[in-house]
C-alpha cells in the first residue's frame, strides 16, 4: 500500500476514535460510539499490515508471530472483560494502563534497535536528534505509566495497603531521579543513539520513579491517580506516534492525554485539592494521625436505629435520596439497594440517587455500579443537579459515604476538607447513615452529622443492612 493512502487511512481511524469519545456524551449514543472505536482500530491494524513497512517483509515467521500474539492477547483480554466484576473496574483500568505503558516502552526499544526500519536514521549513521527526544520521552512516560499503574493496581486490588507510604526524603529522591533521566537523555542524544546503556538506564530509572511517585498516594486519592495515569498512557502513545510518524497514534495519544488530564482536574475539583497536593501525596496520613491522637476525647451519643426503623421511616416518606459511596461498592450492596428502591417506589415514594464526583475509586464508578443493578440512569443525579432537592426530601439514605456529606467542608475553615463541594444531606428532614462503625472517613475528619437529632445510624455491612431493610419493608 502506498504511504499516502496509508496516512489517509490512519487519519480516518483517528477521526473514528474522536467519534468514539463523542458518542459518550449520552448513554443513548454511546454504544454506536464504541462501534466506531472498534472500526477505527480495525482500520488502523489492517492498514499497518498492508503498509510498505510490513507487507514487503512478511514471511511465515512474521505471520506466525503476529497471529500467535493476537490470539494470546485477544484471548486474555476477552476472558478478563467477560469475567471482571463491575466493582473491580478501577483495578482493571489501572492494569490496562500499565499494559499501554509497557507496550510504548517496547515499541520505542524496538525502534531504538532497528531505527532504519522506521526511517529515523541520520545519513551519516546514528539516530536523528528529534527522534531520540521523542523516543526518550515516550519511553520515560511509558515506563512511569507501567510501574505507577502496577502500584495503583496493587493498592486498589488490596495486594498492597491503600494507606499512603511516605519514603523519607521522597521529594528529593524523585527530583534527583528526574535530573538523572534528563542527563541520560542528553547523553543519548550527544552519542547519536550509540549509548545503549543510557537508553536502558533511562528506562530503568523511569520505572523506579513511577513507583516512588505513586506509593505515597492514599487509597481515596486513587480517582486522581487513575485519571492521571490514563493521561500519561496517552502522552506516551503520542510520543511514540511522533517517532513512527503515525497520525493515528498522535491523534489518539492526544485525545487520551487530554481526556485523562480533564478527568484528573474534575476529580481534584471534587475534593477541592490542587493537583500538586495530590501528587505530592501523604494526604490522610497526617490528618489520620491527628484524629487518632485527639479521637479519645469524648464519646458523644449517637442515635442508633434498627433496619425495621429505617424501613418504617422510608416507607412513610414522600421522597428518598440515596447517596452511595465506596462502602456500597466494597460490600456489593447495589443490587439489594435497587430492590429496596423498587419496594419504595411501589409504596409511592419518589426515589433518586445522588452521586458525588469523587464517590468510589475512579471517575463514574458509582454510576456503573448502579447501572449494573438496573437502576435507570435518569434517576441518578450529579451533585449540582441534586443539591437543591435535599431541602424538600424527607430522607437522605447515605450508604458507605462519609466525607462527601460532611458539613464541616462548608463551615469549618480548619478542616482538611474545607471547601470541598458536598452533598447537602444535612438539609433533608431525616438522615440515615449506613456505616460499619463510627470511624471517620479517609480525610480523618469526624462527621458532626452523626450526632444530630435528625440522624439515625444503621451500623453494619452495607449489603446486610439493606437486605434487612428490604425484609423489614415486606411486613
Amino acid at each position: 500500500m502506498n504511504a499516502n493512502l496509508a496516512s489517509l487511512l490512519y487519519l480516518v481511524s483517528g477521526v473514528l476514535f474522536i467519534l468514539a469519545l463523542r458518542g459518550l456524551s449520552s448513554p443513548a449514543t454511546s454504544r454506536a460510539g464504541n462501534r466506531y472505536g472498534m472500526i477505527g482500530m480495525t482500520i488502523a491494524v489492517v492498514t499497518t499490515l498492508l503498509s510498505h513497512q510490513v507487507l514487503p517483509n512478511i514471511d511465515a515467521l512474521t505471520i506466525g508471530m503476529i497471529v500467535v500474539a493476537l490470539a494470546i492477547g485477544g484471548g486474555i483480554g476477552a476472558v478478563i472483560a467477560k469475567r471482571v466484576a463491575m466493582t473491580s473496574m478501577p483495578q482493571l483500568v489501572a492494569a490496562f494502563h500499565s499494559l499501554v505503558g509497557m507496550a510504548a516502552v517496547l515499541v520505542a526499544a524496538a525502534a531504538y534497535y532497528v531505527p532504519e526500519s522506521y526511517g529515523i536514521t541520520l545519513p551519516e549513521g546514528g539516530i536523528k536528534t528529534g527522534s531520540l527526544i521523542e523516543m526518550g520521552l515516550g519511553v520515560a512516560i511509558g515506563a512511569i505509566t507501567f510501574s505507577g499503574s502496577i502500584i495503583a493496581f496493587a493498592k486498589l486490588n488490596g495486594n498492597m495497603s491503600g494507606a499512603s507510604i511516605l519514603l523519607p526524603g521522597r521529594h528529593l529522591l524523585n527530583g534527583a531521579i528526574a535530573v538523572a533521566i534528563v542527563a541520560l537523555l542528553v547523553i543519548l542524544i550527544v552519542s547519536k543513539g550509540e549509548a545503549t546503556w543510557a537508553f536502558w538506564a533511562l528506562t530503568a530509572l523511569s520505572f523506579v520513579v513511577g513507583i516512588t511517585l505513586i506509593i505515597p498516594i492514599g487509597g481515596a486519592d486513587m480517582p486522581v491517580v487513575v485519571s492521571m495515569l490514563n493521561s500519561y498512557s496517552g502522552w506516551a502513545a503520542a510520543g511514540i506516534g511522533f517517532t513512527l510518524q503515525n497520525t493515528a497514534l498522535i491523534i489518539t495519544g492526544s485525545l487520551v492525554g487530554s481526556s485523562g488530564a480533564i478527568l484528573s482536574y474534575i476529580m481534584c475539583k471534587g475534593m477541592n485539592r490542587s493537583f500538586i497536593s495530590v501528587i505530592l501525596g501523604g494526604f490522610g496520613a497526617d490528618a489520620g494521625a491527628a484524629a487518632a491522637g485527639g479521637g479519645q476525647k469524648e464519646a458523644r451519643p449517637v442515635k442508633q436505629g434498627s433496619a425495621d426503623d429505617a424501613a418504617f421511616i422510608m416507607k412513610n416518606a414522600g421522597s428518598v435520596v440515596i447517596v452511595p459511596g465506596y462502602g456500597m461498592a466494597v460490600s456489593q450492596a447495589q443490587h439489594a439497594l435497587r430492590e429496596m428502591a423498587d419496594l419504595l417506589k411501589a409504596e409511592g415514594v419518589k426515589v433518586s440517587y445522588a452521586i458525588h464526583p469523587v464517590a468510589g475509586r475512579m471517575p463514574g464508578h458509582m454510576n456503573v455500579l448502579l447501572a449494573e443493578a438496573n437502576v435507570p440512569y435518569d434517576e441518578v443525579f450529579e451533585l449540582e443537579d441534586i443539591n437543591s432537592a435535599f431541602p424538600q426530601s424527607d430522607v437522605a439514605f447515605v450508604i458507605g459515604a462519609n466525607d462527601v456529606t460532611n458539613p464541616a467542608a462548608k463551615t469549618d475553615k480548619a478542616s482538611p476538607i474545607y471547601g470541598m463541594p458536598i452533598l447537602e444531606v444535612d438539609k433533608a428532614k431525616t438522615v440515615l447513615f449506613v456505616k460499619r462503625g463510627m470511624s471517620s472517613g479517609y480525610a480523618g475528619v469526624e462527621n458532626e452529622l452523626f450526632f444530630r437529632d435528625n440522624t439515625m445510624m444503621l451500623f453494619g455491612d452495607a449489603k446486610k443492612v439493606v437486605e434487612e431493610i428490604v425484609k423489614g419493608m415486606a411486613h
Binding site: 485477544g74 499501554v100 526500519s117 497514534l249
Partner: protein
C-alpha cells in the same frame, strides 16, 4: 514544510479536539470513557506490528521482533479487553421503563 511541523500541528489540534470532546462526556459515563480511551490508546499496536515485521537478520532485528511480539500481546489484551468491557458496561445503562 518540515514533516515534524505537520505532525506537531496535528498533535496540537487533536489536543484541542480532545479537550472539547471530553468535556461533553456526561459524568455518568466517565468509567466507560476511561475503559475506551484505554482501548484506543492501544493503537500503539501499529508500532508493535512494524517491529515484529522487521526482517530477521542479526541480533538487533531479533530484539525488535521479540519486543514487538510482547507489545502486540499487551496491546491486544487492551484492545479486546477494553472494547469488550466498555460494551458490557454501556449495555447496562438503561432508561426508566415506560410502563
Amino acid at each position: 514544510m518540515d514533516h515534524f511541523i505537520s505532525l506537531l500541528s496535528i498533535f496540537v489540534l487533536a489536543v484541542f479536539v480532545g479537550y472539547y470532546v471530553v468535556w461533553s462526556v456526561t459524568p455518568a459515563l466517565h468509567t466507560p470513557l476511561m475503559a475506551v480511551t484505554n482501548a484506543i490508546s492501544s493503537v500503539i499496536i501499529v508500532g508493535a506490528l512494524i517491529a515484529v515485521a522487521v526482517p530477521a537478520m542479526g541480533s538487533a532485528s531479533w530484539a525488535s521482533k521479540i519486543f514487538g511480539f510482547i507489545a502486540v500481546v499487551f496491546a491486544s489484551v487492551n484492545i479486546f479487553g477494553g472494547f469488550m468491557v466498555t460494551s458490557r458496561m454501556l449495555a447496562m445503562y438503561k432508561k426508566k421503563d415506560k410502563k
